[in-house]
């Protein structure tokens, strides 16, 4: 194909973000202590610019580029814009935390930008090669962000654990991909899907490969029984990194699952449906039950993530457009909520003190009613209490499951989310009814304050008008 600005136009978001990240990397070298906030500002500008470009190139058609390696379709648009917005929030919340903990370095921002690029690549991957490379780009950036606080032993250990398990998962994924390549002789999802649907490919080989791919995807999502890394990494990594780790990658992981399982292997839906069902039930069960026992709020959020991943899988395993739309809605909503939750934790921290226990939330209402209100909205949304958006996210997913006659699964999901509501509400209780342990004033910078307000209000407003976002998700799969 001919390469010029017209033919490359659908890939402009990636190109823009890559150029911006490289530029910021170089500019950061020349900044001193006085001007170092420029990196932060430029990173925000880069993300905002990418959002603008992504909106600019979005349309209802499907475009395939680079000899079938790249696809731009409405799903890619929604996923990209969603994860970029969440990343924007994460960067704003992270800035003050980084400064207070003395780990403000330009590499944080460049690595986050490269991780975001990796997620964009995953979102519009149309071949096994691209999806794998995007995943590695994201993972490699994250591996190096987790031990970002170099003097922290827990951080280094978490980084090592994350790296080793992540590499193992990548190996599994690659092995599965090689099986599918062997069976179909193609790397592009269009060709793989055609080969599977034609019935020529060897069934046993396909399923064998599929198992490894599902394991790889489950690892990246953090679904039970491949969840071992999640609590330790959330616990050990600095909050600024967990902000990034817990939010946007979930949307990207959804894209990964859609590309691999739906675009590439819709012909094997009957097989992966069963696998996802097991993963979903285990994740919802174990995540919610273990979360109750946690006193560390980062670990609690980690287990809650695991249970939310179970819900996303519920939407996926419905294996119809309604289910996919519900899962997309759920992952965007979850990412938005999680980034807010960790954002509040970041704001509660100050120099020499890292807010990470549930007790650190004590009496938040007395110290800052507005922040407590936002945190309450976030926790309600995670628990699925109306009128927050989390309620509708759960509702749509359950609807999708019921629509394919799996009522028992919906029952299990409801049961576990009621159990889950307990630990979210406990945190709310701690904020409102306990006495504060420290009387130090909470100093929150203007940009964080503004961002958390927008974030909390979005959770409430989307809950009142869920169709605004859900309509977009449905249109993407329409």
């Amino acid at each position: 194909m001919e390469y010029n600005l017209t033919t490359l136009q659908p890939a402009l978001p990636e190109i823009f973000l890559l150029s911006a990240a490289c530029l910021i990397l170089v500019i950061d070298l020349f900044l001193d202590k006085r001007t170092r906030l420029l990196t932060y500002g430029l990173s925000l500008a880069a993300i905002l610019g990418t959002i603008a470009v992504a909106i600019g190139v979005s349309n209802s058609e499907t475009q395939i580029l680079f000899d079938g390696a790249y696809i731009r379709d409405p799903v890619a648009d929604v996923v990209k814009i969603g994860l970029l917005v969440v990343t924007l929030f994460a960067l704003i919340y992270a800035k003050d935390y980084l400064i207070q903990q003395d780990i403000y370095r330009g590499e944080y921002f460049t690595l986050v930008l490269f991780a975001t690029l990796g997620m964009l690549v995953m979102a519009s991957a149309n071949s096994f090669l691209t999806v794998y490379l995007g995943l590695e780009l994201l993972a490699l950036s994250m591996y190096s962000l987790v031990p970002f606080k170099r003097d922290s032993e827990a951080g280094s250990e978490a980084g090592m654990k994350y790296f080793v398990l992540g590499a193992l998962a990548s190996g599994m994924l690659l092995y599965g991909i090689s099986m599918l390549y062997g069976a179909t002789g193609a790397l592009s999802f269009t060709d793989v899907s055609a080969a599977i649907n034609s019935g020529q490919a060897d069934e046993a080989l396909l399923v064998f490969g599929l198992v490894f791919i599902v394991i790889g995807v489950a690892f990246k999502f953090g679904a039970v029984p491949f969840h071992m890394w999640v609590p330790d990494v959330y616990h050990g990594a600095p909050t600024a990194v967990v902000l990034m780790l817990s939010s946007a990658p979930k949307i990207a992981a959804f894209a990964l699952a859609i590309r691999l399982l739906v675009d590439g292997m819709s012909g094997l839906a009957a097989q992966w449906q069963d696998m996802l069902m097991i993963l979903a039930v285990l994740s919802m069960g174990l995540g919610n039950l273990v979360a109750i026992a946690q006193t560390n709020i980062k670990r609690m959020f980690a287990y809650s993530t695991i249970s939310h991943v179970g819900f996303i899988f519920l939407g996926l395993l419905a294996a119809n457009d309604k289910g996919y739309a519900a899962a997309l809605f759920y992952s965007v909503v979850y990412a938005l909520t999680a980034v807010g939750g960790f954002g509040v934790l970041a704001m509660l921290s100050r120099h020499g003190f890292d807010a990470e226990n549930i007790d650190d939330l004590k009496g938040l209402n007395d110290r800052s009613p507005w922040l407590a209100g936002m945190m309450m909205l976030i926790l309600f949304s995670m628990a699925g209490v109306p009128p927050t958006v989390g309620f509708f996210a759960k509702l749509f997913v359950l609807e999708a499951v019921i629509s394919v006659d799996m009522v028992w699964l919906a029952g299990v999901a409801v049961f576990f989310s009621i159990i889950g509501a307990y630990y979210y509400l406990r945190a709310v209780k701690v904020m409102y009814f306990d006495k504060p342990e420290s009387d130090q004033p909470l100093i929150v910078s203007f940009d964080s304050q503004a961002a958390i307000s927008v974030n909390g209000m979005a959770i409430l407003l989307l809950g009142i008008f869920p169709a605004a976002l859900f309509g977009v998700c449905q249109a993407a799969f329409g």
Binding site: V121, S127, F208
Partner: protein, 201 residues
């Protein structure tokens, strides 16, 4: 048995043997050296498959660069093997069972009936003036351009990650900066002063 087939079995045999040695040797330096041997033999196998560019690149990149650094690090490490092996006996039965199960499954699925010569025939041997270096270059820069670019970004991230994880400036450290030292000119260090001879009174 043709000569090529004989060579294949020689390379493959040494490859499997040295791979076994890598994981069974007590001394990590020996393990690394056996890994080097394994790379050489896989390069030989690729050579037999007429992938000479990849074969030489494997030796150049892995043996010539990556393994040298490995060796470098391993030689300076003082690894306590007794400690590493402490949990081995306890978990060995489970590990062996899982490995056997996986092995059997893999052999069943990835057997000769699926990947044998009948289902995947060997490609036509190319003529002598066929350069697979050139073909690889063409494929990389046209068909796989996107993947190639992302791979480059991944390498860049690797560099940034390595530097951000390891480089720290300790302000109390005394060190010389050769970059500043080499730009010093003689007149910065030495001033020749002309003095009048002192008059004798």
């Amino acid at each position: 048995m043709s000569f090529e087939k004989f060579l294949f079995y020689v390379f493959a045999g040494i490859l499997v043997w040295s791979a076994m040695m890598v994981i069974t040797r007590k001394n990590p330096v020996h393990s690394v050296l056996f890994l080097v041997l394994a790379f050489f033999n896989s390069a030989g196998l690729w050579m037999l498959a007429e992938a000479e560019f990849l074969a030489i690149a494997l030796v150049l990149v892995y043996v010539g660069a990556v393994m040298v650094l490995f060796l470098f690090v391993v030689m300076m490490l003082d690894i306590n093997l007794a400690e590493l092996r402490a949990g081995f006996v306890k978990s060995a039965p489970v590990a062996i069972l899982v490995a056997l199960l996986m092995g059997v499954q893999m052999v069943l699925v990835v057997g000769a009936d699926r990947f044998g010569l009948s289902s995947m025939p060997a490609p036509e041997p190319k003529s002598a003036d066929y350069s697979n270096t050139e073909e690889l270059g063409l494929a990389l820069f046209t068909q796989h351009l996107y993947a190639f670019e992302i791979a480059a970004v991944i390498l860049l991230v690797g560099i940034i990650a390595a530097i951000s994880l390891t480089m720290r400036r300790r302000p109390d450290n005394k060190y010389q900066d050769p970059g500043k030292q080499v730009v010093v000119k003689a007149k910065d260090r030495l001033r020749i002063v002309k003095m009048e001879a002192e008059s004798t009174q």
